[in-house]
Subunit: 447 residues, 2 copies
């Protein structure tokens, strides 16, 4: 099978993705609100020709801040400052359709796309935390299906707003005094169940037309949403088989709604512990796991599966029987993933905590640079991935190891670019620039 | 009277404040979405040791985009990119209490204050445009009094959020594994008429504690809001007498609510046309006025006074009789200001349009550098201003003339700094850093 170029994002979590990384001597938790820390990371990823940096987000404080280095900069501002300090790399950030107004979000992403010269992506989330609801006047978090219904309409509204200026609406004709051709600036007059928005947006159409639509939901609702809207999907899989199933399913769904499956890139997470031998890599992972704190890890696991596990013996078996079937629960796919690990490996609760400590359910691999390159190549060649969201266990050093040791192997194998060929995130990802839905359809040339 | 150091902000309007500036050969309307344009302007103001740059905003497209260079970058992103490209100058941007959620706004300004190392100010507006309402699901714009009621509660909520982490809440103690002292991170549990917000904010307290609170309303509601909350007031006055009345009133109101009037800086707008002779300056203003377009100017004036004037003779008198008394109308103070000009000068409609073309009702002065410095000094010495929001008629060149010709005179007279003495916007403005309302009151030392 011919292997195409892979896409690589650096997923930046303040001190790295391992929950105990901030306790390691090489971490820099004192820089959690220092923008130069993030700018430097993005510059390293840019020097290595990564497609993008990626940021998660939720509009509430994690309830385990006592044991975790959390609570830092807000994504829109962080993304902007990174765009200002880089030239080519994409910048993907998370914003919620549940806790934003579409007009405000559309403006900020359009502005980001302008000021980055077309390098912005929006990771679309519906937000699955009750704590967030309590910061926005809601007693309870909206149910999964309701959130996706709002998300669908939200996407419709913001897409119209981003399309509301045709690309050539600005004339800036000093002589006639006409600044904009108002026939090419369209009210959207959206009236729906959740939103009523007149438009137009108060900014010209941006370099990419719209930000790249990124999405991460893996539930039934999430997959069907992704098939309609997503251009890149960030997804968590522990095994090749699960990733292949997801990849085939999401591409088929895209096809079934009339989209080119090439227009939807699947990017699983991978968190690599890298050593000069496999044993050294595993020992490093152990060192990190030894710094985890049960009071934190158990709370995380309890949140993930929706059951309070604090009364159980840490070295006893995971009590599968008390976990409800996966239904409407928050973190649907992540919860299923935990149950799959339990079914496959029968870990103790402590072992399970360690499995999840690395990257909250994303795949952690420990091995030599060749091992890491091999598994990346295998997943790419066997229909499981169009690229990866690289989630270093620790930062800043963890990404340097990957860039210095693994990326050269991927290049030798013809799997990763040695230079950017485009200037926008869409170009890095091989995605088309969408036309405005309000623009006249181009006439076909006739013979 | 001893004159203290003045404060100077550069109020950046894309091509300058004169409505026809974009038609002049020295303008750069093609850079309206080019962030480097704004970064360069901020760098010039920083080199001249200005206190801050300032941006207006409204979440809707101006309805006269055909004739005006409008619709550019969104303020939070623009401010962030400017902070990333400067080191000392303050960055003040406008956000609406009517069309934002307090948790979202609090996060973005806290993040901006972190990443700028304490240089951010928030220009608090309630937004007075019906077009904005239609972008946020409202049929009609909320009435003035309702907007101010929501603004009061909004300020209460965001202030609590900015105070929710005590300054020393983050420990980052690798050894014990305790990242934050959760006894110093406070839920706000706000339950009010407009908002229910649990908190805490998901970011540590920022360098300035809170952004500098800036405000511009001059109505009765606006003044009483300013007296309680504002630390800097941006205000429009055509005459020394009006400015003196406002200055005395607002300082008295601050005193009456128990505040030190020094903690509230009054900064009128000034838009200077500068020439080597007064006649040359006036001729330059005329050149700009000659490029105005009645279809645009009349619409602006009609909006300002709430009456459609398009059927009136441009060279006839302003029809005072059809303008309703100033009441709940949007742009209260600006509307009154127009009526005052009419009462004082009896202009034709065209003359009135020209008076307003320069800076939308702010004071336009045409003169030599000495004339400009003299009027600035007079207003400062006679109790009308603590500084000025400088509104160049055209940009980028208009600010260079002011910096090169007027600022040196102000320095010779001991009115303006030659070097920054502080690093934060609060320090530039001579404002205290507020303590968190949740921090224990410091014990007084006893003998």
């Amino acid at each position: 099978m011919t292997v195409r170029q892979l896409h690589l994002n650096l997923f930046i979590y303040p001190d790295g993705h391992h929950e105990a990384a901030w306790r390691r001597p090489e971490s820099q938790p004192e820089r959690i609100t220092d923008i130069t820390y993030y700018q430097e990371l993005a510059q390293r990823a840019e020097a290595a020709k990564f497609d993008a940096v990626f940021f998660a987000d939720g509009p509430a404080l994690a309830d385990n801040i006592r044991y975790a280095a959390r609570g830092g900069l807000e994504p829109i501002t962080k993304m902007t400052a990174i765009a200002a300090a880089t030239e080519r790399i994409g910048v993907i950030g998370t914003s919620s359709t549940t806790y934003n107004e579409p007009y405000n979000l559309a403006r900020q992403f359009a502005s980001l796309d302008h000021l980055s010269n077309g390098r912005v992506g929006w990771n679309i989330v519906t937000t699955s935390s009750a704590a967030a609801a309590h910061n926005f006047g809601l007693d309870a978090h909206p149910a999964h299906a309701q959130r996706y219904e709002r998300a669908e309409e939200f996407l419709d509204v913001v897409t119209k707003l981003w399309d509301s200026w045709e690309d050539d609406a600005v004339l800036a004709d000093r002589e006639s005094g006409v600044y904009a051709d108002t026939d090419k600036i369209h009210r959207i007059d959206h009236e729906g169940r959740h939103f009523s928005v007149a438009g137009p947006l108060n900014a010209p159409r941006s370099p990419q037309g719209r930000p790249v639509y990124v999405q991460a939901g893996s539930s039934e609702d999430g997959r069907s949403f992704a098939a309609r809207w997503a251009e890149a999907i960030f997804t968590a899989h522990q095994t090749l088989e699960n990733a292949q199933e997801f990849y085939a399913d999401i591409k088929a769904r895209a096809r079934s709604v009339g989209r080119d499956p090439e227009g939807l890139k699947v990017l699983p997470g991978i968190s690599p512990f890298i050593g000069s031998t496999a044993a050294e890599a595993r020992a490093l992972e152990e060192e990190f796991n030894d710094l985890t704190q049960p009071a934190y890890s158990l709370k995380q696991l309890s949140n993930l599966v929706g059951v309070d596990l604090t009364a159980y013996d840490l070295d006893g078996p995971f009590p599968t029987e008390v976990v409800a079937p996966v239904g409407d629960r928050a973190f649907h796919s992540r919860s299923q993933l935990v149950l799959d690990i339990v079914a496959r490996e029968s870990p103790t609760i402590r072992q399970l905590c360690h499995r999840l400590a690395g990257a909250r359910g994303h795949r952690v691999v420990a091995g030599t640079p060749v091992d890491i390159a091999d598994t990346i190549q295998e997943w790419a060649e066997r229909g499981a991935a169009d690229g990866f969201n690289v989630m270093p266990p620790w930062l800043p050093g963890g990404i340097d190891v990957f860039i210095d040791e693994v990326v050269p192997l991927l290049r030798e194998r013809g799997l990763f670019r040695t230079e950017y060929t485009g200037t926008t995130l869409r170009e890095h990802l091989g995605l088309d620039r969408p036309a405005s839905q309000y623009a006249p359809t181009p006439q076909k040339e006739t013979a």
